[in-house]
């Protein structure tokens, strides 16, 4: 029997919707700040709020949207923009791979729906919630879609006149950074994780200074995780892992 089939399972939705929406608040705050900024920039580049909303709905990936708008105003064509978008968003491949562990035996339809909402932020928050235990695919889906609505709404609001909202009010620009810092701490479960995080962070800084774009995220993460597996295989940190 697939999840979602029986009457009993269907009754789990109301609680999942409440939990998923409540947990999404740090992402919504962060998206509000970035979304308004994006809307203002996109509107200045000549996009109608409906066109902005259309992009936020169909693409739903912040940094690639900023890049696409700047490429549009520079007169770039279809293939240049689409290929750049593909490269910028390729990092989601890693996030979906990592999240797949939590969606065993889920039907293809629900998996496809979950895939749509995978962002840096939803990936980080869902992963933390799955680790804590009281979390499932329904809550993950609701969290994704709540964040998605916040993104679409705030980008369109920006397009309609977000310039009237003071930039940087209440430190809202820092919401996602603080969230990432806290979620990183949640991921640290022993000395090996500290080493992996430091390798990834330092590699990311170095690479980000050398290569343009955001490929540094992908390269640094893959390098650090691979070194982590090797370190574990060759027996470093085994003692510390046991001790922790």
């Amino acid at each position: 029997m697939r999840p979602g089939d029986s009457q009993e399972k269907r009754n789990e939705w109301p609680r999942a919707i409440r939990n998923g929406m409540l947990e999404a608040w740090p992402i919504c705050l962060g998206y509000l700040a970035i979304g308004l900024a994006f809307g203002v920039i996109a509107q200045k580049a000549g996009l109608h709020p409906l066109e902005i909303g259309c992009m936020s709905l169909l693409v739903y990936a912040g940094s690639s949207q900023f890049i696409a708008v700047s490429m549009l105003s520079a007169g770039a064509g279809f293939f240049a923009i689409v290929i750049t978008t593909f490269i910028v968003n390729l990092r989601h491949l890693l996030m979906s791979s990592s999240l797949s562990r939590y969606f065993r035996d889920l039907g293809q339809g629900w998996l496809s729906a979950l895939a749509y909402g995978v962002t840096d932020e939803s990936f980080a928050l869902n992963t933390a919630n799955f680790r804590e235990g009281d979390w499932d695919w329904r809550r993950a889906l609701v969290l994704n879609q709540t964040s998605n609505l916040a993104w679409i709404g705030s980008t369109m609001a920006g397009g309609y006149g977000g310039q009237f909202i003071p930039a940087g009010a209440f430190g809202i620009d820092y919401a996602l950074v603080a969230m990432f810092i806290c979620l990183l701490i949640f991921q640290i479960r022993g000395a090996l994780y500290v080493v992996i995080a430091l390798i990834a962070g330092l590699a990311a800084v170095l690479l980000s200074l050398i290569i343009p774009g955001n490929a540094y995220i992908f390269i640094a993460s893959v390098t650090a995780a691979t070194l982590g597996v090797l370190l574990k295989r060759f027996g470093f940190f085994r003692k510390m892992e046991r001790g922790s």
């Binding site: 608040w25 992009m55 999240l99 430190g171």
Partner: protein, 107 residues
């Protein structure tokens, strides 16, 4: 209201963004993974989060350059301590925002 050329570009962007999100969920969730790969995936969240955060804190500008004197970094240190001590997402986010806001008033 929405021009056809624009719509085509956005649809193209949507398709190439969706595919890397979709393929791993669809295929990896249905099979048993080798142990080394499961370990590797277990390290990915810490690695990605760190790779996302560090450059935000110590680089700035376009083209990017190193800047160790920005409020992002100063605020990150107490925020990190609050995260370790409280292990509270809400507390950490609110603390970080307020501190960053205050820092913005004076720097």
């Amino acid at each position: 209201m929405i021009q056809t050329d624009y719509l085509l570009i956005v649809i193209g962007m949507g398709v190439v963004t969706y595919i890397p999100r979709w393929i791993p969920l669809l295929y990896l969730s249905r099979r048993g993974l080798p142990k080394w790969f499961a370990e590797w995936l277990d390290f990915i969240p810490a690695a990605i989060l760190s790779a996302l955060i560090f450059p935000l804190l110590v680089t700035t500008g376009e083209p990017r350059h190193l800047d160790l004197l920005q409020p992002e970094l100063f605020v990150a240190i107490p925020t990190l301590i609050v995260a370790v001590k409280t292990r509270s997402l809400a507390g950490t986010v609110i603390f970080g925002m307020i501190l960053y806001w205050i820092a913005g008033q004076y720097i």
